[in-house]
Amino acid sequence: MKTSDNEIIRQALDGERQAYAELVNRHKGKAMTLALRMLKNRHDAEEALQDAFVRAFRALPGFERKSSFSTWFYRIVFNVCSSVLSKRGDTRMFSIDEEHDDELKMEIPSDDDEPDIAFESSEFSRIVRKEIESMEESYSIILTMFFLQEMSYEEIMEVTGLPIGTVKNRLFRARMQLRNSVLKHFKDMNPMVNV
């Protein structure tokens, strides 16, 4: 039976520091994906992630287990990557959008805009990935958290420190941008496609 994160944390706090390696192995993949989406540079992402794991280990005695280890740890990853970004002079991540509730009420495009594309193709998946990689970081990160890391709005709010309205709004915009760019991509590839 797989040992829970909390059990491993208890072992690490009891002096079995080596147990922490299991936590690192468990979370390094998804955390690396998040760091890479934020920093867009493999070397920087790995360095930031290493720093985050070391900080998390040192902060373990203060981990109150109000949230899961992963949420708590992603917040550390997010903060470390954010400080790297701010050193680069990129502060887009921290800006809190004006909330446009009207946008959330946006209607679905009319019948003329009915998408008609080969959804099941592997090409589709490739295009989705490519479009996410080319998105602005604040959008690609929120998509990664929501879909890949399967975080709830509340968990994303906890990790990013953004108000829940901004989280919802940003996620909505990110999904719409992805939708539109994927459809546009298919239209450009095949002008006969009705997008």
Binding site: R17, Q18, Y20, A21, V24, N25, K28, G29, K30, M32, T33, L36, R42, A45, E46, L49, Q50, F53, V54, F57, L104, K105, M106, E107, I108, P109, S110, D111, D113, E114, P115, D116, I117, F119, E120, F124, S125, V128, R129, I132, L143, T144, F147, L148, F172, R175, M176, L178, R179, V182, L183
Partner: protein, 191 residues
């Protein structure tokens, strides 16, 4: 298109929440009715679902192979610096390594065809430390003779000697790596 039976036409946000399964049950059922009656909404739902699946199927990016070891080395810095403590904790491995290296060294230094002399040298050395271990030393002498014979034969040629030196160096690196650092081989082979 609003329908008195089904309430307000779903917005884009509601359609996304419908796909996520986060709508309230009542609204979910209303939106479901709209979707069932509209090809356009069905396409939209299918598009959203496929996008979600594509993102979820996206493989996570793994850091380098030595990543976990590097993190643990940061967390346990004494692993790098407390060489002698580590050595003491693994003294049995260390003495086994010394014994193996000594045997190979004796063969290499004394050259081929001197098995008898080699074992004499070894037994004299050991006997000089304590006569109380005479019996065990005799046994060891015989054992070493048997063990070192093929090694001795191998050392007769330059290529054999070269091979033995290489093997010795390799054993040394592997054992030291295991005993002290666990950095190079541990990261590349054991993970």
């Amino acid at each position: 298109m609003n329908s008195p039976q089904h309430g307000l036409q779903p917005t884009q946000q509601e359609l996304m929440e419908f796909v996520d399964g986060t709508l309230s049950l009542a609204r979910y059922r209303e939106v479901e009715q709209f979707v069932l009656q509209s090809r356009r909404l069905q396409s939209e739902v299918k598009l959203q679902q496929t996008m979600h699946r594509s993102i979820r199927e996206d493989t996570t990016v793994q850091p380098s192979v030595s990543f976990t070891t590097d993190v643990m080395n940061e967390i346990l810095p004494q692993r790098r610096y407390m060489f002698w403590v580590k050595l003491a904790n693994n003294s049995s491995n260390f003495f086994a390594m010394i014994l193996v290296l000594s045997m190979i060294g004796i063969v290499l230094v004394s050259g081929p065809g001197k098995t008898q002399n080699d074992s004499n040298i070894l037994s004299k050395t050991v006997e000089s430390y304590s006569t109380a271990y005479d019996a065990s030393v005799q046994n060891m002498e015989l054992w070493i003779q048997q063990i070192t014979h093929p090694v001795n034969q191998a050392a007769a040629s330059p290529s054999g000697k070269f091979f033995l030196i290489g093997l010795t160096a390799f054993c040394f690196v592997v054992i030291m790596d295991e005993i002290v650092g666990k950095r190079f081989f541990h990261a590349r082979i054991k993970q």
